[in-house]
Symmetry: C2
Subunit: 381 residues, 2 copies
C-alpha cells in the first residue's frame, strides 16, 4: 500500500500547495524595493489578523523567540510578573522569567485547568507592584483556552501589561488586540498562518511601548527598538527569512479571502466535529474549556498512550501529537488548526478507531466518523 | 525585453533549483524519527564544513542570532573582550558586547584594513584578563579577510577564546575549526550553504564549552545548554525551521560532492576572474587583502556610487551590493559566493560596463569580461 503522510499536529500544520511552491521561487534580495513591498504587505496583513493598528514585527525565529522578545523588551531584572502555568507553555513563561532574573510569581495549576478573571484580579490586588501578566490565548499543550478578554479588562485597570502568547490561538479564535486591550501579542508562522516554522510575529500596545523605554533586560537580536527603526525604512535589522515572508504573503491572501470571522467559524466546525467524534467513541476530553485549536483526549484506561500515538503515526501515518512531559502517555492531541479541511478530521478519527482496534480496545468502527460527518455536513457551506 | 533577476549579493545568494524545490515539499513534523534523521544528517554535514568533531548547533535565526548566541553562552557581564572593528560586522561584535554589558576593547581601524597576528598578540599581552577575541573570517562589508590561523595561534596561548564569525567566509575559504583551534565558529544559511536565510550554525571547542559552565549573560532562546541536551535526543529545544533544514540536507549533498577543497578552488577562480575584470577597467579594489567572498570596488572619481548601484539593480537587474553606512556610495560589492557559476561573473562585469557607459564613464565595452573569461577558461575544469 502507498501510505500517505497526514500532518494532524498543532504546529507544524499542513501548508497549501500554492504556498509551498512559493518557497521554490528564486530568492530576491531583502534590501530592495521589491522585497520591501512584499514585507510591508505582510506587515499590513498581520495587523489585520492581530486586530491592531500597531505595527506587527516579523522576527526570524520560532515562536519562543517572540516570547523572549516580549519579555526582554518591556521588563527589567527584578520586575514582578505573574504567569499562569497550567501547561508546557505557561511553564515556559516562568522559565523565561527565570532566565531574565524577573521576580516571577507562578500560578501553578493542573494541566488544562481554567483560571478566572476574578482570580487574576485578586492576584493583582495582592501584588500591586506587578509589571506584567504573562499568559496564553490557547495553551497548546492541552488545548485549553483562557478568558483573555476578561484578563485584559482586569489588567487594564493596573499599571501592568498583559502579554499574550497567541502562538496556536491567534487566527483560530477571536482576540482582537486593540479592542480587547492586549498589550503584547505574539504568534508563530507554523500555526494558523499556514506557512512553515521560522518566523514569529510580535505587536506592542502604546502602554507596552512606554515600558520599552525603561526596560533594562539584556537584548540584541530581539531588540524591538532596532526593529522599529528599521521598519520605518521598510526593512528589518537583520537578514530576514526571505522565502518564508514570500510564503506568508501568499498565505495571508488566503486568510484575507476567507476573512477572520470565516476562519473562526471554520475552526469552530472542525473543533465541534472532532469533539463529537471523540465523545461517540466514549472517550473523554482532557479539558473543560477546549478551544478549536486541538482536541486533547484522555488515553482510555488500560491503554498505553505512547503506543497509541506511535501506532497512529507509525502505522497509519496520522501525525497527531502525544502529551508532553510530565504527562507523556496520559493523553493525545488531535489538531485542527491551519490548512485543515473537514475530511482531515474524518481521517484523524478513522485512524484513531483503527488504532484502538489494533490495541484491542472495544470500538465500533465508524462511530466517531459518523458523528463528525453529521456536524460537518450540517455546517458545510 | 524580458529582464531576468541576477542575485550577485553577498547574502542572500542564488539557490540551486533542486534545493529550492525541496521547500515546496510537504512539511513533516519535527518530533519524529523521519525528521530526526534529516536533522542529524545536516548536523553531521555541518561538522564536515566546519572542520570539527564538535557538534554544530542549528539555530532558527539569522547569522546575527548566532553571534549573540556565541557571546551570551560563553561570557558574563563585565568580561573583558577584544573586537576588531574594520567594517560593519566587526562593529556588530562591539554592539553585542555593549548590549551584554561586556568590557569591550574595540580596535577601530579603517574599513577594510588588515590586522596582523603580532598586533593581536601585543594587545593580548597588554590585556591579560581578556576572556575572548571576537572577529570575522571575512568582513562581509568590505570583503577583507583576516589571518584566523595566526589569530588562533596567538589566542590559544592565553585563557581567552577566539570567536569567529564565519557567516560569509565559511565554505568559501579554508578555516578548519579544530585544526586551527577556533573556539567558537558560526555561520548563516544564506551564504555558501546555498539555502535561504533563516538558519544559523554554531560550534564550540572544549575550551569554549568550559566557559559555558560559568557564563552569566542572560539567555533563553539561544541557550546552548538547552540545545545540547536536546541534540542528545536528536532534536531542538524549540520548533526549528523545518523546510530550511530539509533544504540544507540537499545543499549539503552538493557541497559534499564538490568537496571543501573543490569549493575553495571554485571560489578562488571566481574571485580571480572578478578582480581581473575590475582591474582591466582601470578600477581600484577597496582592500589589500581581498577574500574570494566578494570583490569591493571603489567608486570611480566623479561618479555617484549610489546611482551606479541603483542602475545596476534597477535597469540591469544585476543585484550587486552597495557599501553600507557610513561609506554609502564610496564603493560597491560584487559577490561570488554560494551557488555562482563562471558566467555569473561575466554577467556582473557586463552589467557593470553597461552601467558605467550609462553614467558617461569612459569604458571599453568587453574589456573586463575578456579579462575574466581568460581566467575562467584557464581554470575551467
Amino acid at each position: 500500500m502507498i501510505k500517505k503522510y497526514y500532518l494532524l499536529s498543532p504546529g507544524p500544520t499542513p501548508i497549501p500547495e500554492d504556498v509551498l511552491s512559493i518557497a521554490a521561487e528564486p530568492i530576491i534580495h531583502h534590501r530592495t524595493p521589491e522585497f520591501s513591498k512584499i514585507f510591508m504587505e505582510v506587515t499590513e496583513g498581520l495587523k489585520y489578523v492581530f486586530g491592531t493598528k500597531e505595527d506587527v514585527y516579523i522576527l526570524t525565529s520560532s515562536g519562543t523567540g517572540a516570547m523572549e522578545a516580549a519579555v526582554v523588551n518591556t521588563l527589567s531584572p527584578g520586575d514582578k510578573v505573574i504567569t499562569i502555568n497550567a501547561g508546557k507553555f505557561g511553564e515556559r513563561w516562568g522559565n523565561i522569567g527565570k532566565a531574565c532574573s524577573l521576580n516571577t510569581k507562578e500560578i501553578v495549576l493542573d494541566w488544562g485547568a481554567g483560571y478566572a478573571k476574578e482570580q487574576l484580579e485578586a492576584e493583582l490586588k495582592a501584588n500591586p507592584e506587578t509589571k506584567a501578566v504573562l499568559t496564553q490565548l490557547s495553551e497548546t499543550s492541552t488545548g485549553a483556552i483562557y478568558d483573555i478578554k476578561g484578563f485584559a479588562e482586569v489588567v487594564a485597570k493596573t499599571n501592568a501589561i498583559l502579554v499574550v502568547d497567541g502562538i496556536s490561538g491567534l487566527g483560530v479564535m477571536p482576540c482582537p488586540m486593540d479592542e480587547w486591550q492586549v498589550d503584547v501579542f505574539l504568534s508563530g508562522s507554523q500555526k494558523s498562518f499556514m506557512i512553515p516554522p521560522g518566523l514569529a510575529y510580535l505587536a506592542l500596545s502604546p502602554k507596552a511601548w512606554k515600558m520599552v523605554e525603561t526596560s533594562k533586560c539584556q537584548k540584541f537580536y530581539f531588540d524591538i527598538k532596532k526593529a522599529k527603526k528599521n521598519l520605518e525604512n521598510k526593512t528589518t535589522p537583520w537578514t530576514p527569512g526571505i522565502s518564508l515572508i514570500m510564503q506568508q504573503k501568499k498565505a495571508l491572501d488566503r486568510i484575507k479571502a476567507i476573512g477572520l470571522d470565516g476562519l473562526f467559524k471554520h475552526h469552530q466546525v472542525l473543533g465541534d466535529a472532532t469533539r463529537a467524534g471523540v465523545k461517540a467513541l466514549g472517550l473523554q476530553l482532557l479539558v473543560k474549556n477546549p478551544g478549536n485549536i486541538l482536541t486533547a483526549v484522555k488515553t482510555p484506561e488500560g491503554l498505553d498512550g505512547s503506543k497509541l500515538v506511535k501506532t497512529m503515526q507509525g502505522k497509519y501515518m496520522a501525525y497527531i501529537a502525544g502529551a508532553q512531559d510530565p504527562n507523556k502517555g496520559k493523553f493525545f492531541r488531535i489538531a485542527h488548526l491551519g490548512y485543515m479541511g473537514g475530511f482531515d478530521i474524518i481521517t484523524a478519527l478513522s485512524a484513531l478507531e483503527m488504532t484502538l482496534k489494533d490495541l484491542n480496545y472495544p470500538v465500533e468502527m465508524g462511530a466517531s466518523t459518523q458523528a463528525a460527518q453529521t456536524v460537518l455536513r450540517e455546517n458545510w457551506e
